[in-house]
C-alpha cells in the first residue's frame, strides 16, 4: 500500500525555524524541577543527619545540599534543553507527556543516587562510573532519543510499510540473544556487542507493538466482522488471525525458553489489549484469558523456575532466608514505609552488611520508594504512570487513521502494563516477574526503549499546522480605507 502518511504541502519552508511557545510544558517542568530539588535537599539532609547521629556526634546544623548537586544540575539543564528544542521545532505536540516522564526519570535518578553507589559500577574509557552517574548517563541518552524522535519523525510510513521487516528483525535479535547471549540470574537476557550490552526484549516490545498496529489496522474490518463457522460455533476468522498469533507465539516461546516470564506476560497482555482495541470484540479477550490460564497451568507443571516463582508468591515465608528472602524483605519495606514513609535517605537499613533486597535498583525500586515515600508517595508515582497512559490513549483517540491510533494506544499500554505488572509483583499481588519499572529502574536498555516509546508518542501527537485564523472584516485597516469602502 502506498499510503502517504500526511497530505501536507512540502515546501522549502520545511526547515525554517518557527518557534512555538509551550506554556503548559514549561509550567509543569518548573514544578518537576522544584519537586526534584526539594527531594534532593531532603535526601542530602537526612543522609548527613543520620550519619552524624550514627557516629555519635551532636548535630549542630542541617545541611540541605543535595548528595550529587552536579548530577542534578546536569539532569535539570538537560530537561531545559529538550524543552527548548521542542519549542524551536514548533510542532503542536503533546505538552504533558514529557514533564510526566521527566518527573519519573528524576525520581529514578534520586533513588539511584540514594542507593549504595557500589551496587553497579562500570568503566567507560578508563572512567569509573558509579550507580548514580551511570543512571544519569543513561537518562541523558534517553532524553536525547526522546528529543530526536519528537523532532524528526514526521511520517509513519517507515513503520507502517516495513512491519514484517521489523517483526523479523525483532525475532532475529531475540534469537541472537539466545545463541550469543550471556546468563544473568539464570535467565539469558543480555546480549553483549563489544563494550555495550543490552536486553533486546525491551526493544522487542516496541517492535511488537509496531507490527501489531500495522497488521491490525490493515485487517481490522475482517477481524471484527468475519467469522469462521465450525458446526454450530462461530469462531474468530482464523485465517486472518493466524499470522499475528504465529508472530506472538514465536516471541512468547522464545521468551519462555529464555525464562523471561515478565516479558512474556507483557507481550501477551499487550497483544490482547490491542486486539480488543482494534476489533471491539470481547470474545477475543475472554478466549485469550482462557488460553492464558491454560498456558499458565501447563507452564507451572513443565518448568521448575515457574513453579518456584509461584510457590514463592503463595508463601514466601516458607523459606524467608532463602528463596523468599527478597519478597519478604520487600513486604517489610512497604510496612516500614506506612502512610507517609520514613523519608528519602532514611530507609533500607543494611542487614549484616548487605542490602535486604539485592535487586532493589532493577526489580524492586518500588519497594525502596514505598519505604521512603510511603503509600502517599507510591500513589503519586502510580498516578504518573496513569497520566502517561491517559496521554497515549488521548493521542490515539485523536489520531488521523487506524494505524496511528493503534500505535499510540499500544505504545502507551506497553509502558503502563509493564509498570503495573512489576508493581503488582513487588506488592505480592501476582508472582514476581523480573521486568523493570519504566523510567525509574536502573538499566540502559529499559530507559532507551521507553524513551523510544515516549518519543514516538510525542511525534504521533502532532496535530499538524494550525488552521489559518478567520479573517475579521474591518479590523487592522486604516480608517479612511474603511470609510471609502462603505
Amino acid at each position: 500500500m502506498s499510503v502517504v502518511a500526511q497530505a501536507r504541502p512540502r515546501t522549502a519552508s520545511r526547515w525554517r525555524i518557527r518557534p512555538r511557545p509551550r506554556p503548559t510544558e514549561l509550567t509543569l517542568l518548573v514544578l518537576v524541577a522544584a519537586a526534584l530539588v526539594i527531594g534532593a535537599a531532603s535526601l542530602g539532609a537526612t543522609q548527613r543527619f543520620r550519619a552524624t547521629v550514627d557516629a555519635g556526634a551532636t548535630v549542630k546544623a542541617l545541611d540541605f545540599g543535595p548528595p550529587d548537586p552536579r548530577g542534578l544540575l546536569v539532569y535539570l539543564s538537560a530537561l531545559a534543553v529538550v524543552h527548548g528544542l521542542l519549542v524551536l521545532a514548533g510542532r503542536r505536540t503533546d505538552q504533558v507527556l514529557f514533564p510526566a516522564t521527566a518527573l519519573l526519570g528524576g525520581i529514578g535518578l534520586l533513588l539511584m543516587q540514594r542507593l549504595p553507589q557500589g551496587l553497579v559500577t562500570q568503566s567507560f574509557f578508563g572512567m569509573e562510573l558509579l550507580l548514580g552517574q551511570l543512571q544519569l548517563f543513561w537518562l541523558l541518552l534517553a532524553l536525547a532519543v526522546i528529543a530526536l524522535l519528537a523532532l524528526i519523525v514526521r511520517s509513519d510510513a517507515w513503520l507502517r510499510t516495513y512491519k514484517y521487516t521489523w517483526a523479523a528483525a525483532g525475532i532475529g535479535l531475540l534469537l541472537a540473544t539466545f545463541v550469543f547471549g550471556s546468563d544473568v540470574n539464570g535467565a539469558r537476557l543480555t546480549l553483549s556487542i563489544g563494550p555495550l550490552s543490552g536486553q533486546p526484549s525491551e526493544l522487542l516490545k516496541v517492535i511488537l507493538v509496531v507490527f501489531l498496529a500495522g497488521y491490525l489496522s490493515e485487517n481490522r474490518s475482517l477481524l471484527s466482522d468475519e467469522s469462521t463457522n465450525l458446526g454450530p460455533f462461530r469462531l474468530p476468522p482464523l485465517p486472518y488471525l493466524a499470522p499475528m498469533v504465529a508472530m506472538v507465539a514465536i516471541a512468547l516461546s522464545i521468551v519462555v525458553v529464555q525464562k523471561d516470564l515478565g516479558a512474556a506476560l507483557l507481550f501477551f497482555a499487550v497483544f490482547l489489549a490491542l486486539l480488543y482495541v482494534a476489533t471491539g470484540r470481547p470474545s477475543y479477550v475472554v478466549g485469550g484469558l482462557a488460553l492464558f490460564l491454560l498456558g499458565s497451568v501447563v507452564l507451572y507443571h513443565l518448568f521448575g523456575h515457574v513453579q518456584q516463582r509461584v510457590d514463592n508468591w503463595l508463601d514466601p515465608f516458607a523459606d524467608p532466608l532463602g528463596v523468599g528472602y527478597q519478597t519478604v524483605q520487600a513486604l517489610y519495606a512497604f510496612a516500614r514505609g506506612g502512610l507517609l514513609g520514613v523519608g528519602l535517605g532514611a530507609g533500607l537499613p543494611t542487614i549484616s552488611g548487605r542490602l535486604p533486597i539485592p535487586a532493589v535498583h532493577t526489580d524492586y525500586p518500588l519497594a525502596a520508594l514505598g519505604e521512603e515515600l510511603g503509600l502517599i508517595g507510591l500513589l503519586a508515582i502510580l498516578g504518573l504512570y496513569l497520566v502517561v497512559i491517559q496521554r497515549g490513549l488521548r493521542i490515539a483517540a485523536s489520531a488521523h487513521d487506524d494505524f496511528r491510533a493503534l500505535l499510540a494506544a499500544g505504545l502507551a499500554l506497553v509502558v503502563g502494563v509493564q509498570a503495573f505488572i512489576i508493581a503488582a509483583g513487588n506488592l505480592k499481588v501476582i508472582p514476581l516477574t523480573g521486568i523493570t519499572l519504566p523510567f525509574i529502574s536502573y538499566g540502559g536498555s529499559s530507559l532507551l526503549a521507553n524513551a523510544v516509546v515516549v518519543g514516538l508518542l510525542l511525534a504521533l501527537s502532532d496535530r499538524g499546522p494550525e488552521p489559518p485564523a478567520v479573517p475579521r472584516p474591518g479590523r487592522g485597516r486604516l480608517p479612511w480605507l474603511r470609510w471609502r469602502t462603505r
Partner: protein, 144 residues
Amino acid sequence: MDGFVLTLWLVRLLFLLALYAFLFMVVRVLLRDLRAASRGPAELGRLVVLAAPGGEPPAGTTFPLDALTTLGRDVNNAIVIDDPFASADHAVLTFRGRAWYVEDLESTNGTFVNGVPVERVAPLGFGDELQVGEVRFRLDRGRA
C-alpha cells in the same frame, strides 16, 4: 535536636506535596483538554484525494464529510467526480453510529475499498482507500 528532626519531617512532606502539586496541575490540564474534546469534532471525517488521472478533483484536495455524502459524475452530488469511469450516481458514504459505510449505487464500474469491490454496503475504516472510477480517495478523521 528535635527541631532538626521536625525540619527534616517538614521537608519530607514538602517533597510529597510537590509531587501532588505536579499531579494537580496535570489533572487541571487534562480536564481542560477533555472538555475541549467533548465539544466534539467539527466534522465526522474527511475524504482526501490521493490520485485522480483526469485531474479533477486534483490530488491532495480534502472534502469534509456530512453524515450522508453522495459521490458521482452528476453535478447534484456532494462530491462531483469528473471521471469517465464514474457513474452519474456512483456511491454514497454514510456515518452510522460510530463508523463510516460506503454503499455502491449499482454503478457500472464498481466501488473499491482497499482494492476489494464493494457488494452493496461495506464498512470503511479511517485510513482505508476508496476508489470510485479511476479516482482514489482516503478516509481520514475529521480535524478537532
